[in-house]
């Protein structure tokens, strides 16, 4: 199952959903059609913002790094942060903020603990450049990469509960290996968390 389908399964009908770093609004649009959600996206890229407006999605131009204190406590049923946390200046603060704003949060992250990444560093001695993380160290937006273990440790340090978790291989599939050794065979993972 693709990430977008899992998110769809994890969001209840008629929920209010805030997608932080919503891109062109694909996830929200999918949820609007199938789950009749009240959607708000937050985005910083101007061409993405215009695509959201064209699709009729409510979108707020805002830099998440500058804070989210304009969103009040528990104001959304679900807060989504898909492939975004690793580009933020303060991922810990962001996690605390999203669990404050949403009753539940859905977070997807690339896994730096994936075996290809580990092997690449071991064999070449250089920062890994892989399919899910294709940029060189000096021009990557991913300034806070972590492994799934790291992410889970941060959750537990900040008293955030992990309700559900699925990890995927590089083709976006969950299989026997990604289920047994997610931090080794998962190229990315999706978490449902709450405070």
């Amino acid at each position: 199952m693709k990430t977008i389908e899992i998110i769809n399964n994890w969001v209840a009908q008629n929920s209010s959903v805030l997608d932080l770093g919503c891109g062109k609004g694909e996830i929200l649009l999918d949820l609007i059609y199938s789950k009749n959600i009240n959607a708000v996206g937050v985005e910083i890229d101007s061409s993405n913002i215009n695509k959201c407006i064209t699709s009729g999605i409510n979108v707020i131009e805002q830099n998440i790094d500058k804070g989210l204190n304009n969103f009040i406590d528990n104001s959304f049923d679900v807060v989504i942060m898909s492939q975004t946390i690793q580009v933020l200046k303060d991922p810990k603060k962001a996690l605390q903020e999203i669990t404050r704003i949403g009753n539940e949060c859905i977070v997807t992250i690339p896994n730096f603990g994936h075996w290809r990444t580990r092997l690449s560093l071991l064999l070449t001695g250089k920062m890994p450049v892989t399919d899910p993380l294709p940029e060189s160290w000096f021009d990557t937006p991913n300034i806070h990469l972590c492994s799934l273990e790291d992410f889970e440790l941060l959750c537990s340090d900040t008293s955030i509960q992990i309700i559900k978790k699925i990890s995927f291989n590089s083709s976006g599939n969950s299989n026997i290996f990604t289920r047994a050794w997610p931090n080794l065979f998962g190229a990315s993972a999706i978490y449902k968390i709450t405070k």
Binding site: S16, N50, C52, I53, V59, I60, E61, N70
Partner: protein
């Protein structure tokens, strides 16, 4: 650059009934001067209301006689294939009550006294404007606006439409606006008013019967206002410290280009605008505060809103800065309203809303069309 709306004609709408104003007074025999561009479709679902700002009027697009004359104030955005596309939409722009470009205002004749209203013209509010615009909508058979759009004080009207007539508006674009004026905003308005009121030719507002009018005061008021419409950067780019004659003259005549520009703006304005109208409109701006009736709670003030709202601010606007627009946005979000917000990079200051900058045009087009 595409062709504009071409030749336009102003029209007059006489309100069939008197209008009870927020101040408690009633106004009789009200006329609204307005213009329209494009065609109203058969189910009257494509009408867009354009709300003008402080010194604006109904002439938003096109020209009256000659295409070389000064075009309507929002011609950059209104026209065939422009942001507000007159091939698709029926665009209506009235001059508001209290104005001095044809609609009933201080320079009209009071039907009761048969003399100019002058300073006797009641202090009007944004709500009064919206109420009068609703009468115009009735007359034009527009039950529900596709959108109301305005910059600055115009944005406040668009917001007020959404609050007061939630069933009569689908979308509102609130551009370069604020939920209420700050002390600094009011201070600038007060300097403008004092410039007018202390001009000996003001004659306590009864200058229409005399030979003289407070042009010097109005000119100063406009010069101060104009500084707040531009950004430091825009002024630096446009004028820098350029000297008109290339050298210092050690006197108080015009030396710097910026002085010449401001004087020119002041001169043009003082010839074409009415001082009492300027006083009224600045007061109306000062008074605007939708949260006032809700103990300052803007979220509650927005509860009635049904329309989609797009708020746009400009990075270099310091009269109504992006922070002020965000106050509107955050209250809309807290009230769980359909909200979109853009902060557009622009160096034109508050005046940015008048220019057809790409991102701004694309956003308006997308919002109106989605």
């Amino acid at each position: 650059m595409s062709e504009g709306v071409g030749k336009v004609k102003e029209q007059i709408f006489k309100l069939p009934t008197e209008l009870l104003l927020e101040c408690g007074q009633t106004l009789k025999n009200i006329e609204l001067t307005y213009e329209t561009y494009g065609e109203l479709n058969s189910d009257a679902s494509n009408a867009i209301l354009i709300c003008h700002a402080l010194s604006g009027n109904h002439h938003a697009a096109g020209y009256y006689k000659d295409k070389n004359e000064r075009l309507g104030w929002w011609d950059a955005l209104i026209g065939p294939n422009k942001a507000i596309d007159t091939n698709k939409y029926f665009v209506v722009c009235p001059n508001n009550i209290g104005g001095c470009h044809g609609s009933t205002g201080p320079s009209s004749i009071n039907p009761v006294t048969q003399r100019y209203y002058g300073p006797e013209f009641p202090v009007i509010t944004v709500k009064d404007w919206v109420n009068s615009q609703a009468k115009l909508a009735d007359y034009l058979n527009i039950k529900c606006w596709h959108a109301a759009i305005g910059g600055s004080l115009g944005g406040m009207q668009a917001l007020e439409w959404s609050r007061l007539f939630p069933d009569r508006i689908s979308k509102a674009a609130v551009i370069a606006a604020a939920p209420k004026l700050s002390a600094q905003n009011i201070a600038f308005n007060e300097v403008a008013r004092q410039a007018i009121i202390t001009d000996p030719d003001f004659q306590e507002g009864n200058y229409l019967d005399s030979e003289k009018s407070p042009k010097r005061g109005l000119r100063l008021a406009r010069m101060v206002g104009h500084i707040t419409y531009l950004s430091d950067e825009a002024m630096r780019d446009k004028f820098g410290r350029e000297l008109k004659e290339g050298k210092l003259n050690f006197g108080f005549d015009v030396e710097f280009e910026v002085e010449s520009y401001l004087r020119h703006q002041g001169d043009v304005f003082s010839e074409s605008f009415d001082a009492n109208t300027y006083l009224l409109m600045t007061k109306l701006l000062d008074y605007y505060d939708p949260a006032e009736k809700y103990e300052g709670n803007l979220v509650r003030a927005f509860e009635t809103i049904n329309s989609k709202i797009m708020v746009i601010s400009f990075s270099s606007d310091w009269r109504f800065s992006p922070e002020r627009s965000k106050e509107i946005v955050n209250a809309l979000l807290a009230a769980k309203k359909d909200t979109t917000y853009l902060e557009i990079e622009s160096s034109h200051g508050h005046d940015s809303f008048l220019f057809a900058e790409n991102r701004y045009v694309n956003a308006l087009t997308a919002f109106l069309g989605n």
